[in-house]
Amino acid sequence: MSAKTTAPAVPRSVHRAGRQLHGGRLTYAILILFTAGSLFPLVWTAVAASRSNERLAQTPPPFWFGGNLFRNLKIAWTDAHMGTALLNTTIVAGSIALGTVFFSTLAGFAFAKLRFRFKNLLLLLVIGTMMIPPQLSVVPLYMMVAKLSWTDQLQAVVLPTLVSAFGVFFMRQFLVEALPTELIEAARVDGASSWRVVWHVVFPAARPAMAVLGMLTFVMAWNDFFWPIIALTQNGSPTVQVALTGLGRGYIPDQSVIMAGALLGTLPLLLAFVLFGKQIVGGIMQGAVKG
């Protein structure tokens, strides 16, 4: 083996003490237990959604699926407005994700690669806005929305969240390294305008980070709670969270239907996690190291 001849100085035990260590049985046992705890409430949501209200009012609680799933899903879909809510939330979260990715890439590129006055001050301002809690703007936002008669219209929840400081910072951190300055200069020498540079050089280079930011923003927008339940109502144009809040407040007093609603509202994101889990995990870990 080549390792024997080239690296005699490092004894084997030290290699074993390094982080390449394999997990032992106990490691797997604890991780499986923790994973089970993470998944159990979701699985049990499906179990409860497949039962009846009467069965959920008995001891012991059900541990396995019953036959009422489709009946409950149907009631949740129509009577609890979950169908409308899913459509609305897809529109809202989709628009917010697209807008955030687009504007964040533009600003992130400027902060990463261009020279202009007040750049550092403006960047500091962007980071500072991340600290402002949503509670602080909710009263005037409500007054604005009421004045524009936007209550119960989707733009009331889309527009205030269309840009994100986190997004700008995330794209900047990515582009500082991923976009070679020579590439921009070469395009400039060829006489390309700023817009052409953005379109033909920046967007292609930023694509992986744009995808990750888009997914993270979509998840956050899908689950946004505080502002939507103020701006939208159950019977108008609810998002999933508004409809679920209505259910939780006793809109339909049937626990199995409530669970069916919770299941419907969560399934699209769980599906996204099954399909793109690797990228989402990568995005969160990438943002963590740089942020």
């Binding site: 490092v10 030290v14 003490a17 390094g18 982080r19 390449q20 260590l21 394999h22 997990g23 797997y28 991780l31 923790f34 994973t35 705890g37 993470s38 998944l39 979701l42 049990w44 409860a48 959920l56 001891t59 400027a110 261009l114 403006l122 600290m131 809690p133 602080l136 703007s137 909710v138 009263v139 936002l141 409500y142 604005m144 009421a146 004045k147 400039r188 020498v189 006489g191 305008s193 700023s194 998840v219 689950n223 709670f225 969270q241 679920l244 939780g248 626990q255 919770a262 509202g265 969560t266 769980l270 996690f273 889990g277 690797k278 995990v281 870990m285 990438q286 963590a288 190291v289 942020g291």
Partner: protein
């Protein structure tokens, strides 16, 4: 616009041979436009963010401060009566405000501390070479995909007094049923459980990312010095993670101050009181109750600004602590 010559608009590559006046003028115009483009386009690129922020972030922030000095009712949000600092002084003598502040603090502590400790442990385990490591990472992140509303609705059932799974399990162990919702500590514990469930996996991945960035030779030299695994964890992993730990502490604390959805929905249909005795009403929930149940937007604004001041205090404390830590290490 693009005429025959290859070097249009590129001042650096202007050819040396003499030009006819029209062509020279065109070039002059182009290079002027080019200079303007280079000079101003950065501002155009960052403008959308700042315009949206000004309209939906900065203006509301300041206007909340203005509204907090007025009496404003939800039924007529355009009629504002100046009351000075009365909304704030009223808060100081309001037992429900102090109650909400206390609850926010205790729920914050019993949700943040276990959350970050467990996350650190899980991250340590995930850092081993594992079969199916990606499965574990995605699986521990699924609670993050679950919304506050969906999660809380399930936990309300699990923590149900009569038919809940938790009480059933306790019953199997011989403990009597707990009325989770009506006790102070029990309800706060239940609400915290929801927070811990949703965010532990997320924080574990953040710690894991930071652990992967620790250079392996640190462990190698520690092992050469004869450090046990536990000592390596304490003396290599934890110190290297210090900035990340501080970061997650700040983020979780900010999250805890704003806690709203869990206590709102844990109460079921009973409104925004946070339990019959306000036993789990947080500041966020109290703000909502004042503004959108009792219709006092001015008072809600005063609560919002008080929360902001508390956050600033936390930020200052964090800055002092991190400065002290940095001094200690150097």
């Amino acid at each position: 616009m693009t005429s025959g010559t290859g070097a249009v608009g590129a001042p650096a590559a202007a050819p040396a041979d003499p030009l006819d006046p029209a062509e020279a003028r065109r070039r002059e115009r182009r290079s002027r436009w080019y200079r303007r483009d280079v000079r101003w386009s950065p501002y155009a690129l960052v403008a959308p963010f700042f315009l949206f922020f000004a309209a939906f972030g900065l203006f509301p922030l300041l206007y909340t401060g203005w509204a907090s000095l007025h009496q404003v009712e939800l039924t007529a949000p355009n009629e504002m009566h100046w009351v000075g600092l009365r909304n704030f002084s009223r808060l100081l003598s309001d037992e429900f405000f102090w109650n909400a502040l206390r609850n926010t603090f205790t729920i914050g502590v019993i949700s943040t501390v276990p959350q970050l400790l467990i996350a650190l442990g899980v991250a340590h385990l995930l850092h081993f070479k594992l079969r199916g490591s990606m499965f574990f990472r995605v699986a521990v992140l699924t609670p993050y995909a679950t919304s506050v509303a969906a999660a809380t609705l399930v936990f309300v059932l699990l923590f149900g007094r009569d038919y809940g799974m938790v009480n059933w399990a306790l019953g199997q162990l011989g403990w009597g049923p707990v009325d989770w919702q009506n006790g102070t500590w029990t309800s706060q514990f239940a609400v915290s459980t929801i927070v811990v469930w949703r965010w532990t996996g997320y924080n574990a991945l953040i710690y894991l990312a930071a652990m992967q960035a620790i250079p392996p030779d640190l462990y190698e030299s520690a092992a050469l010095d004869g450090a046990s695994r536990w000592q390596q964890f304490r003396h290599v992993t934890v110190p290297s993670l210090r900035p990340t730990i501080l970061f997650t502490c700040v983020v979780s604390t900010i999250g805890a101050t704003q806690l709203f959805g869990e206590p709102l929905l844990f109460n079921g249909g009973a409104g925004a009181t946070g339990g019959s005795d306000h036993q789990f009403q947080t500041l966020g929930l109290y703000l909502y109750e004042q503004g959108w149940v009792n219709l006092h937007l001015g008072r809600a604004s005063a609560i919002a600004w008080t929360m902001f001041l508390i956050l600033l205090l936390i930020g200052a404390a964090n800055w002092l602590i991190s400065r002290a830590l940095r001094k200690e290490t150097t």
